[in-house]
């Protein structure tokens, strides 16, 4: 391969689809590093941008390299970055935060008001090379294989949501068993939850949920609040509900199934305004609701890395499909189908 050129999946115009192009290898600027991408995984956001739905059309300004969840090896550093980082295995935090806004200044950088996101606001990870700020390249121990390292960003969403409250000895409902919900089920199991009940429409994903550590997996049409409470073994309601699906019905189920003074953490993005019974569901029962976005910088990365590196969570079953970079469109469509676990795009990774 020509060391000055690289492959990249480019959306050239504001329309559906993208093309595999050749681009010059980018140089890292001050404070940045260049990563040789080993593997990337497909996120629902990637599907939206590829399909160019209404949200994507509003948000994204082509031309742009797509993709964001990835892992690889640092191969060059910009001015001011420790040159010993060359050769470091890293996973990539895809939120580039400003460091100056009120949230960034007070320990909540994950909620940065000026965040720029790889694959949305600047060139992303479906490419041989990627340039990111040095702090966004998170070191990964040798024992973590590429296909797991590439999942750490997405798994970080699961960790952030799950560990937003204590789970040990708590009863837990998870609505949605896409890859992030499945990761949350694994975290809840690793954290010693008293019971983990998953609600999910896809039978494949329900089966995967049980494999990842759920005690029960229900279809939405059989999962009212009573059924959830019964499955959790606690008639008073679950202590914690994690909404990972983006479905307003699921959000309402979380509020109905949680116990008085319980907690609901919401990662799923409902497409439109969702009506809920605030008086009964939130106020009169003293329920706490936590919106969750991104990953805490960097507590979540530390937690996620330790969970996989020390064998407390095994993400391997999540990877149900793998494609080379040339077949990125098949990867996107497989993820779009709603029955897969995590879909991996293998780019430059050797073993491990």
């Amino acid at each position: 391969m020509d060391e000055r050129a690289m492959r990249a999946v480019r959306k050239e115009r504001p329309e559906p689809g993208a093309v595999l192009s050749r681009l010059p290898v980018p140089e890292p600027g001050p404070g940045e590093v260049r990563v040789r991408v080993a593997a990337a995984s497909v996120c629902g956001t990637d599907v939206s941008v590829w399909h160019w739905n209404e949200w994507a059309a509003r948000r994204v300004r082509p031309p742009l390299t797509l993709g964001h969840e990835c892992a690889g090896t640092v191969e060059a550093v910009g001015a001011g970055v420790d040159p010993r980082r060359v050769g470091e295995r890293v996973a990539v935090e895809t939120h580039v935060v400003c460091g100056r806004c009120l949230a960034c200044r007070t320990g909540d950088g994950h909620a940065c008001a000026n965040v720029r996101i790889l694959g949305l606001d600047r060139d992303g990870a479906f490419a041989d090379r990627l340039v990111v700020p040095a702090t966004n390249a998170w070191p990964v121990p040798d024992g973590v294989p590429w296909h797991v390292a590439a999942l750490l960003e997405s798994f970080g969403n699961a960790v952030h949501t799950a560990l937003a409250q204590p789970l040990t000895a708590r009863t837990v409902l998870i609505t949605g068993a896409g890859p992030t919900g499945l990761g949350a089920a694994a975290v809840a199991r690793a954290a010693g939850a008293a019971s983990v009940v998953v609600v999910e429409s896809s039978p494949e994903r329900r089966a995967l949920a049980l494999r990842m550590g759920a005690d029960a997996a229900l279809a939405p049409d059989e999962a009212d609040a009573g059924a959830v409470r019964a499955a959790a073994g606690e008639a008073s309601g679950v202590d914690v509900a994690l909404e990972m699906s983006g479905s307003p019905d699921a959000l309402r189920l979380c509020l109905a199934a949680v116990r008085s003074a319980g907690r609901v953490a919401v990662l799923g993005l409902a497409p439109t305004a969702a009506a809920v019974d605030w008086a009964e569901g939130v106020v009169m029962r003293g329920v706490a609701v936590q919106g969750v976005t991104g990953r805490r910088l960097w507590q979540t990365w530390l937690d996620a890395t330790r969970l996989v590196a020390r064998g407390l969570v095994d993400l391997s079953p999540l990877v149900t499909h793998r494609f080379p970079l040339e077949e990125v469109e098949r990867a996107i469509e497989t993820a779009a189908g709603g029955h897969a676990g995590k879909v991996l795009v293998e780019i430059g990774g050797g073993s491990p």
Copy 2:
């Protein structure tokens, strides 16, 4: 007065209104005390029960003595209660909790799943005498006059909502300046909030809000998120929003005006399911929403009592109207008008 009989405002039948009747003085059972009521205040709930709206018709089973917010003097104790409590000045917690449900057992008795409420589920406080569990009779120092002591239960809602998060050096929005919102403004000011912005439709209540410590009081039609942020002196959004009105529009304003990673505490009861933009308002900005009900048992009572007893909050301006028990209907209608502060029913209180 015949010591074996007493006056009581009774709803005899499932229909609007109530009558001032004579009833036998009740005897306290085991673990209970009898309180000679000095003063009671009128709550929105009392108005609903009096007017017999849809909610009241579903919830209340006459016959019943109305009213719940009150203060008075312990005059008799039941079996197992320290007889030295006779003569004690007390304010009354109106939630009688079960002590056995999951919430009660884990420090969240305010969210008891089996709560019974004075004036709704058992005889209330618009009467010369009232019987409650001994633990529900909270001691009040001598320096707190009856008209303030009678407000402690209602003020407790304000304290619970306001102190559900740190307020010192924080920018605060309060939507709704009914008596509870006004109390919250006073607490925020006492707690050293950086700024306190109130949004309220009644001009009288806006004026009262400024008197209770708000820095700015806006009418709803001039109060979009930008105006609130400007009034709070923080373009990034307020750190904390307290929803005390029950209006879905106000709830949406809270979510729009709060900063990324900020907090919203909700005490107001929206009458129907309220649609909010969860993705933008809660999830993507990492906002925390806390439903608030009742008063923490008994941290809130301790806090509320200290705030008034040590002169940190002056509740006197809240009392805008006073009526004798015979004029309870006028008291109810004055409270129903939406422009009053707190309406007091004076029953048996001498000085102080």
Copy 3:
């Protein structure tokens, strides 16, 4: 057996030892229940009282029935207690709290300023029957055998200490592997700790620690801060240290081994004032230290019960010795030896 008499281990006089006597079966007063004791376990406190050390001589006023950790069946209830509780299997909370002090009133009843303790301040559990307040009799599911149920009070100390901070994905040091330290190791493992390092002088107990879930068990003379950090796999120091031994050296090790901004929870009772380097150990590194006493009422009991009932923690290996009530002195001396796990006194328990 005469149903009006029972066996009880009595300390009759302020001196070492105790005798197995016959006493009338006690009647439960208002709000109390009588428990038919199935099994009790031996605590270090029981040893102190039996041996009549200086602390015991100061604290205890004979005559008194000894013992406190126990489980059994409710067989009679006093006035005001639900008679359906007869037949209920229970474990016993041995702290009888006042419910009126500042700590009790603000959610911290475990730190009651007027606590009275079974076997110290009122008759205890080394007896066929025991009378306690009804709230102190905590229901235990059928699947939990007596020898585990009897350990729940002691295990509750471990749960309270361990869950005083998040443990999932955290590195944890535990100093002292007596029964409580061993229980804490099991909780840390169940909670998904990244690593659990135990420091303990007894080789038997170190072996037991590994069996209960520790990743490493070090002898004190090989365990300086560096060795602990190495064993935990985190050169910066452990996130959490749990001091369960009462040794000042162990406390100093906890402060030396914990990372900057880490947490130390202390359950062990140092016999005398212990000198530590506050400036370096606590202040300049921003460390938090939490004193732990008793069990949170009743969150800890809920957590402990779920952990054992749902199979997340197996306490059976902790029970290394069993004696009938007649051999209580051998039970005491075995516990006093410092090499046992938990020593059980079997009183009236059938299966399970």
Copy 4:
């Protein structure tokens, strides 16, 4: 003045004292800014370094410019810093943190394991010009005069300690009324503490404590736990104790005076290992102890700035002495006397 030269208070050799020298004006490196110093204030650390006590001899490597607490105007920026910052009024955070250690990565940068401190590890603030990382130059609103801005770093210690727990409606003990303890008293008053009791040996400082908002100021020889509790109006003990003196006796007083399940925050640095009764003082009463160092980055700066900018705390009374840079030795000796409030060194500040 020659724009290429500046005055600086230099410790040239490892011995007591320092000299006012002329040095070249330093250039800011990448990511740094140069500040034209308006005013600096004297910290106990400056006194130690000037007097060259044992601790200083161990820690400091001359030659070095002394001083660290200061405020001034950005007059030049290094590569990568927004040039619009030139002209910005700033106060200076004196802890230069590494950003890479575990504490820095998990939201606890104030406890950085590799911190370098101005005036100890790199050139400090008793000079016409100072170079610091751009993030260490905290913007200060126009309304805050230089003599207050210069105090923000020191006041930040007070804010960090005081706001390490809720203070509204809480009873508070503060041991030590040096400038930081006095600042803490002002914060506690602004935060709506139920009562603020200060213990301090200097009569001048006790008087100042009352002026800053304390309700009572006791001399150490009259301040046992009972006297503190009486002065706080709470026989059960104070909710919160803040140790700001570094005296072991004061630490023991904090532990004795705090209530069961109360909190003690410790900023004072005891010179040697301090023996406390851990069993009685911390463990058996379930007390939490928080070591406090530096300022939370940057929540504390935000809080401190708002408290002074919005008039909630008036720091002006703290400034009891002012000296020009030429008289820095008198400034140091005045601070060393133990009776002053804050001693200011005026360097280049005009109005305000």
